[in-house]
Symmetry: C2
Subunit: 233 residues, 2 copies
Amino acid sequence: MKPDLTHAAQRCPVLSKARPDTRKLLVESASLRRLDRSDSLFLHETHADQCFVIVFGWIKLYRILPNGSEAIIRMHTAGETLAFADCLRDGQHQTGADAASEATVLCIPAALLREAIASDPDFGRILLTNSFDQIDSLNEQLESLKCQTAIQRVGCFLRRHARLREGRLVVLLPFEKGLVASYLGIKPESLSRALGRLKGHGVRSGREEIEISDPAALDALIHDDAGSLAYTG
Amino acid sequence: MKPDLTHAAQRCPVLSKARPDTRKLLVESASLRRLDRSDSLFLHETHADQCFVIVFGWIKLYRILPNGSEAIIRMHTAGETLAFADCLRDGQHQTGADAASEATVLCIPAALLREAIASDPDFGRILLTNSFDQIDSLNEQLESLKCQTAIQRVGCFLRRHARLREGRLVVLLPFEKGLVASYLGIKPESLSRALGRLKGHGVRSGREEIEISDPAALDALIHDDAGSLAYTG
DNA sequence: CGCCCTCTTGAACCAGTTCAAGCGCAGTGG
DNA sequence: CCACTGCGCTTGAACTGGTTCAAGAGGGCG
């Protein structure tokens, strides 16, 4: 295995659980690609002949809307897989994918992926489990979009991306705020105002870095009154 | 196979593609359950020892929010599978499930599902493909919630559920409007007003049945200006 | 310095919610 | 048979969260 990929493979739920020889097959025959911000990884509705594991950075999945602008469907980061579904169905990419930050991805030829599945019966199981986990995460996003206000969604986003760093709980924004906004289903202006309003709820937002100074206060805001849009049958 | 299940199995993407003996195994050993509206199929965070194929009717997946109301995550209907993921991971149900209308479901013991996967290597592949399709559909829902207005979402919902019936394009509302609203991420009042506004765009809404008299007009509304919330990076 | 790009801020506007009232219909009981 | 009641749906009026449009601040870079 290429030395710089060992760590990446450990972070990846699919590769790390795969049988060593399967992992070796996938990683050794794959190529590594570096992307700058806004470089394109693949285009919507093109034939899927490669799938990807993100080693580093962020990739956005998007679709072009009738009016020409792009809808951000999902954001993916290190360890996550891309386009496995498109490859296995031997079809077209369901979305486009661009780098949202500097990024490195492992590019696995579709044939290799099929070979791994054919030769390692457990590997299919691993993919299935991974795919179930993705469905869970999508269900949560749906719930969040349907039942939370923009400010609560911003709060959840911050909590999810916060990391301990020298004793402080900090969010290093992984990509532009405009993109964060779009991912959350709001406009950049609204995100800006939301961050402003969160200052009263345990959040200190600087440029490039946001600190959660009072996680409890933020959690209270997130959970309080969540469900103003819920079904009361 | 029980005679009344042949048709149901054909409608189900998972069962219909499975090897005949696998299908037989699953269907014959499963039990059939009838549900009235609002009967519970399983509860959130209970152990998943059965999975389900919907034979008839609608099932809603929901989660109880901190404030006690319920968030509608997804709606499922005939042919669709439920809780396969929860069973295979041998875990708890990720959501609760209630009948949203009268419904009939095929209840498959978890052990049986595992047996099918173990004895039929293709069956895992079929589940994987099915799970990929679900992810696609969830991606589309996310896109819709992020980039479309409530009225456009209502329009899409109508198009998706419209069926030709005696030459007219008709939507028989599968369940209460309050539930439709919640599924679409809006309040019942807003759904009511949306249907009112759609009257000017090729939709005639009566009680229990909505007719799409001018599909082209409706489509125009749906696509026109879609993406007011999109990312313009 | 000047240009570009991202982010912020303000004011007007609009979509969708909230609250409250009323309607239509099914079920119930007199 | 009809009043009573309960529930789902609609409608109206006031309100709020988020958008829109426009202007300005701040930073990076040639």
